[in-house]
């Protein structure tokens, strides 16, 4: 069954055709992913061991402070902590003790490393082990690094999930594991499609609550819902689980190909696959065509941001008829995005890393119809007459699978529609 058109000739298959740049990177650090991770895990607390800058980042990137006492905070390192490291471990015990006292609802505590804690080599692994013993069995303490020197934006989620994999128990049961933090409504849609095909049980990582943890082992097959989960992929593979390679489930075609890859592994009959997917596929196609009419024939330039860029460029070109001028990504996990990458034409520049000033020069020169970029660049580019789409919405909004395919196209078409709509000149 062909669910995707044949890949066009792709010249990006060898490293030489990827533009690799090194310069100023206009990206968030991995701490930023705490903003969606803590919503996904209602019994988890994320404690960043860092500086005032880390606290300020979390507050600014979250935009509004909706929560009185959110389930994340920063233990701000002070001059005294920097003086002696033994001190810092004691201080950490004290802060964690206070925190868990105040929040008895917390079952999972993540100690999140930052740039300063990594530079002073504060051993959070050791702290997590010590604190787990101390607060067992009620609270499990894990650690990972979301520092900017090691992680970019969504890589924070990757590091967090990889840390969670390391403590999952062993299990030989056959199961499907969906990996990646998705909004609940979206996750339920995926699980219900897969259940309708007779695939059971379906587990999700991260599990919303600590007591919903499950075992993994050689009979675990896992599908990634996000393209930035390289370390988690490696951790699962080390535990004997098998990756189901597929394009990422964006749009009608991406979702179908992703489901098909899973269906193949679980030997779902073609007829059953068809009967489960037929209706939502048609709905997704219709929704995309309605939202995407203004996208067809337009050009797009993607700045590196969330690592979603390659799969999204596949969606925009293959399903919405756009031309991708440049697709930038902080890191190119070729092994994970290969099946999306092969649909991008040779004329598209794939760039990895960033030198933001040079990339801005290329963007200005190519005058794309739509530029997908971070919040630091959007207004300045709008002021230069380029229409932009904030990349961060692509991380915070439900965009996966059939029922969100139209919304996904709509996120890109709205800025174009808006610019057509605004008329400020005198009529006469």
């Amino acid at each position: 069954m062909t669910v995707m058109p044949n890949p066009t000739a792709f010249a990006g298959c060898d490293d030489t055709s990827v533009l690799k740049e090194r310069g100023q990177r206009e990206v968030f650090c991995g701490l930023t992913s705490i903003i969606w991770l803590h919503r996904k895990m209602p019994d988890a607390f994320f404690l960043v061991i860092g500086s005032r800058t880390c606290a300020h980042l979390l507050q600014s990137a979250a935009g509004v402070m909706i929560f009185a006492e959110p389930r994340f905070a920063t233990a701000i390192l002070e001059e005294t902590d920097l003086a002696g490291l033994a001190d810092a471990q004691n201080e950490l015990d004290r802060v964690v003790g206070e925190l868990l006292n105040r929040r008895p609802d917390i079952r999972r505590l993540f100690l999140v490393g930052s740039c300063p804690s990594e530079v002073i080599k504060l051993d959070l692994q050791c702290a997590a082990e010590r604190l787990t013993t101390k607060h067992a069995p009620h609270v499990r303490v894990l650690n990972y690094s979301g520092s900017g020197i090691e992680t970019t934006f969504t890589q924070g989620e990757d590091a967090c999930l990889a840390a969670m994999v390391s403590v999952l128990p062993e299990s030989q049961n056959q199961q499907l594991l969906l990996v990646g933090a998705l909004p609940e409504v979206v996750e339920e849609q995926a699980v219900s499609l897969l259940s309708a095909m007779g695939i059971e049980p379906v587990r999700v990582l991260p599990a919303p609550r600590a007591d919903e943890d499950f075992g993994i082992g050689e009979n675990t097959f896992f599908a990634l819902t996000q393209p930035f989960l390289g370390d988690t992929h490696a951790a699962l593979t080390r535990r004997g689980a098998h990756h189901i390679a597929a394009p990422f489930p964006f749009g009608e075609k991406g979702t179908t190909a992703w489901l098909q890859a899973i269906a193949n592994v679980f030997k779902v009959a073609d007829s059953r696959f068809k009967s489960v997917t037929e209706v939502p596929r048609a709905r997704a196609r219709k929704a995309i065509s309605q939202a995407a009419d203004v996208l067809a024939g337009k050009s797009v330039f993607l700045f590196p941001d969330s690592q979603l860029e390659i799969p999204l460029a596949r969606f925009l070109t293959v399903e919405c008829g756009m031309t991708a001028i440049e697709v930038g990504t902080p890191y190119l996990h070729r092994g994970l995005v290969e099946q999306d990458l092969e649909f991008l034409p040779t004329s598209t520049t794939i760039s990895e890393g960033q030198d933001v000033d040079q990339q801005l020069d290329r963007c200005r020169q190519s005058r794309p119809d739509l530029t997908v970029c971070g919040l630091g660049l959007a207004n300045p580019l709008e002021a230069e007459g380029l229409i932009t789409k904030w990349a961060i919405e692509l991380v915070f909004s439900p965009i996966h699978f059939y029922e969100q395919a139209g919304d996904l196209a709509g996120l890109f078409s709205r800025p174009l529609r808006r610019s057509e709509r605004l008329k400020l000149a005198a009529v006469s």
Binding site: G23, E26, T53, E78, L92
Partner: protein
Amino acid sequence: MKLAVWTYEGPPHVGAMRVATGMTGLHYVLHAPQGDTYADLLFTMIERRNHRPPVTFTTFQAADLGADTASLFKQACQNAYERFRPEAMIVGASCTAELIQDDPGGLAETMGLPIPTVALELPSYQRKENFGADETFYQIVRTLAKPTTKTTKVTANLIGPTALGFRHRDDISEVIALLDDMGIGVNVVAPMTASPDDIGRLSAAHFNVLMYPETAQSAARWMEREWGMAYTKTVPIGVGATRDFVAEVANIAERKPYLDESRLRLPWYSQSVDSNYLTGKRVFIFGDGTHVRAAARIARDEIGFEVVGVGCYNREQARGVRTLAKQYGVEALITDDYLEVERILANLEPELILGTQMERHIGKRLGIPCTVISAPVHVQDFPARYSPQMGIEGANVIFDTWVHPLVMGLEEHLLTMFRDDFEFHDEAGPSHHGVAHQTQSPTERRSDTDVIWLPAAQAELKKIPFFVRGKARRNTEVFASERGMAEISVDTLYEAKAHYAR
């Protein structure tokens, strides 16, 4: 280690960015890890700036730490110079770069760039954003300002306004107008709008108007010491303060005080009968020291509120705010712990909060109206319309924005008269706000005391309009517990009402 949930101030290098972004022809090369570029969006999104802040981040990564971050910094400096051709450069380190001790100032000096370079030492683990802005501006002035001859006309510098400041953009216009009315010209406005060249000729002015001590106190003191330039101590926010400011300027400039009050509406609006209902409304004031001091005077003396608490988050201004609190007979709350501010607010139950964006969030949760009077700010604090805080128009704007979240006078009157009316019930909140902003009814809040409300008293309490219900509940409980009463009856409620009548 200090546990922080939300912070009032960013790190000091964000203060330096506010100075650099306000200026023209200046570039900031910041030694910082990948991720610190988030700070750009404060300016491009919150302030809707149409250009990127003039900041180059070295964005080093873990791999660079083992190699040579120092040459990475020098390369970034060189590239920034060639691309942006600034007239002057400031260089410094963010918190992480401070730890790796590359000495950006020393490195930049060895490069022999043909422009002045100002090295910043901002201790990230001790100080915060306002200190960063003040110190950066001071270092820029110290390095670039030169003695010159005075302008023939009497002129002043306006110092203090920065990018991302609360209403700085419009305050500048207002203060320029105040000075112009007295025949005093403006030599330089800095940091906002100034180029390094402008900084060079600061000494040509006859005196300085220190608009915001938070960001320009050190520079003002230095200019006074170096060149004997006086600077104004009054910040012209509010009617009385604006009049004092005019008198102070007249004194410094040796000319007659003059204030055009033809557009001043606050005094009449405050006197008009609709404002009767503002009398004694309990307000809590929190923000930066300068705005809090100004707001307290306006609240008590110009609008007739009762100030039930004041505080500031910037310790540099703690002394002034403590003195103020003493004058107003309240406790000063000097803290940057957001949860502590929330606790105090929940306890005091004021009828209006004059605060920052942080208190706006607290107010939303507690069902207490809030008007923002100070940074930290959000996108709605940069309105499209002219909206200063200083001078004549600033006073008018303040009257409108402080009164707006409250129920209008005539409406309060009607609600009191018809409180049981089925169409006029008060749960809907002020009629000029689409949605009721009561998230938690004060009657449903748990009492802090052990006093028990009898059902009849509870029902009577509900008949009291929502905007005074919290106060009534609190007063009654205090009244009862002071008298050792275990229960509150309808009588207790009315005895307390009579006791607190004014």
